[in-house]
Assembly symmetry: D3
Homo-oligomer: 167 residues x 6
């Protein structure tokens, strides 16, 4: 493939990593949506479903809160990310069959996008869900952490081919 | 299923979350190994392979370093995790076909295990890898974050059925 | 009371918490003032007064510095708070009779207010004051952490009925 | 009063603050319990009571989680506190009349006590409760943050005169 | 010297420290460049030079990444610093004779300058370089951490007399 | 030089950085002392000296407190450092001629040493001193950050040739 525009913008000519200089970019409204999916297995899915809100409630609440806080720490965790003034973070979790489906949305008004914030929110929520349930089973698997869509910014909008949260 | 030993130990009888009281547990050597896998797609895999060490080097180094730092922040990110004096963290990344395979190992000498530290190291390394390459393609997908094995502690050792890092 | 405008804006219709979306709000100058009061008891108040600046100095300095740093970490500590670019934080402490009176002011130019930053600064300063003096007495009590006033933003200005720092 | 044993152990002879040297102290089991109380006012108390679990649930969960995470960040926030390997943190919140009553318990096996961890957990839970409800009323007041009891360590056990969480 | 404009702006009239109020200042593009130099000694300099990229690579990469992350944590570490939305951070390291020369550049669009961010990036990179090599020798010395230049802001541009990174 | 024991222990055979595995090392008492020196220049040195305690006090207090907090964040800042349960941190600053002399001491009871904690405390105190005085002059220079001594641990004690804090 011969597309010279595809570059590793986080790496400089001397092969050292660098935070991309966004000082010339315009401040625009930016949004990104990411997902994660956890395979729970039959037993855990059943247990959560049967516990009514007594167990499911705290598991979901803790995962949602951790995901939101995770989004705010993205630039602290991912070395080349810029610190961004997030204007909104939302994390949703639903149980469906043997899966937990997580969707995270992040918004900012800034010079660079919030893809990593949305992906980090989804990942930290998934890890926390795992932590809250690992006394029941350790064989959960976190799958399909990916970007569903992004908008705002010069590089244009992006929408995953199969852009919906799904099993 | 009727296994009364399966419980949500992070949730108390009043349905509020809580950090498990480990003060009665013994201090033992504990270790956990986790993996994550990133589907890169053909173009990115090719680009990394062809760049020799000039691009691949900084991408892998940054992801490894972020993963190690992520492990140290596990209890800050995952609400019910205990702060643990980690005695070792290792993150390995290899490119294989259209995938990047990440394996993270964490060790401690403590009253509770390091599963979440190993899983967090693998996840943060994967997110960082994504960040370093997202200027090339946004359609990477992080897959199969899971525990490969753990040892130490009263609940016994665990080994995933298919306990090897794999595509 | 029948005031439908009173809502829990941090909780969504599905009963999961969420960071309020402020992306449509305007950036305005915002300011908030909060207070905390510590009951020291006779002995400690006397000891601080008699030590001249030798003990009182470091106690006050450490509490003021911790309060200012606490304000900067508000969004890291309070899960649904937005990260804000603080333009000023001030913490004042005075000894008056058997009390230490703390007043904290925070300012920003942002889409949402700084009440929590001012309250957090006052609280962390109070906790630090407690820590610096707890070798003398453990029976101090932190009282009356509250908002004295806020200005800026669509919801209008607020001034506590008895808006002055007081015993 | 003439009790020469009462000293500001966090301040050295040159009037600069310092982290107390605990390297000669023994590692023992230590525990501390602290409380905070929030005056909600009639309207908010009613609203929380009438909302059933739909609003009260997320408010309490978020406050409890933030309190637990706050305990883990105590040494990061309070300048002279030692980093401690917490073995348990528990935060309980109950609504009673026009008040929310918060009780926080912290445990460790270390060379110094966990009073500040318990007090910080209670304070951060109270601040978060305030944040979750401030869209309803800003006139809440956080009161009576104090130590209820501590045990373990050479300085002996402590129990507040009126050591029970109360209005 | 009789220049009454020289003041300690971080200290108020009551001799307590304070974050300078920048709410009246204009948002402008600001940039700062700082340096640090590490004296390695003959043996370590030789060892790094002879190892080709196998050892030098990871040492430099780790130091650069830590420096960039350090810049983002400046306001968390330096008590009176404002949190700033950094738009770029760059850290360069070169080996020259028995020295490692570090240059750090920080940019923001804000109400106050980024001198401390550039100085912190250079310092953390230097400390990390030390850490990566201290198994070889402990007698390295970090020298000459200073500001090379700053631009933007009312106080005008600054350029060190001998403003170039040098042995 | 042909000393095969001199190795980069933070770098593995695959040239990726790694946190050294200390799980086999013994827990021993460890201590390290580091220094930093700031060249203030004539004007600033004079100004601090003449201000009596009114300006010098807050400058020193803020620098000391930041240095102590910096020591506690060492493993968060320096990627390959282990998190350590510090049992003591002390930072001393003295003005001497045109210099500020900083000495930092750190202690722990752990499987690895506290050199980086002492060096980080000295560095963060120096950066904070710079920040507190940079409204007076920007031409300060931080010099001679180095280890003065370390004790405890298998690799034996270390004492810098000229192990005293000095101009």
């Amino acid at each position: 493939m011969n597309d010279s525009s595809k570059e590793f913008t986080h790496i400089r000519s001397n092969d050292l990593p660098s935070m991309v200089d966004v000082s010339e970019k315009s401040v625009t409204e930016r949004k990104a949506v990411a997902m994660a999916r956890i395979h729970l297995g039959h037993e855990l899915a059943e247990l959560l479903r049967n516990s009514g809100s007594t167990k499911k409630g705290p598991v979901l609440q803790t995962a949602v809160i951790a995901g939101i806080q995770g989004a705010k720490r993205t630039s602290d965790m991912i070395p080349m990310c810029h610190p961004l003034p997030l204007s909104a973070v939302d994390v949703d979790i639903e149980l469906e069959g043997e899966y937990a489906l997580i969707q995270a949305t992040a918004k900012t008004s800034a010079r660079t996008g919030v893809e990593m914030e949305a992906l980090t929110a989804a990942s930290v929520a998934a890890l926390t869900f795992y932590d809250m349930c690992k006394s029941v089973t350790k064989s959960m698997k976190i799958e399909s952490i990916c970007l569903l869509e992004k908008s705002g910014g010069k590089s244009g909008d992006y929408r995953a081919k199969d852009a919906q949260i799904s099993k």
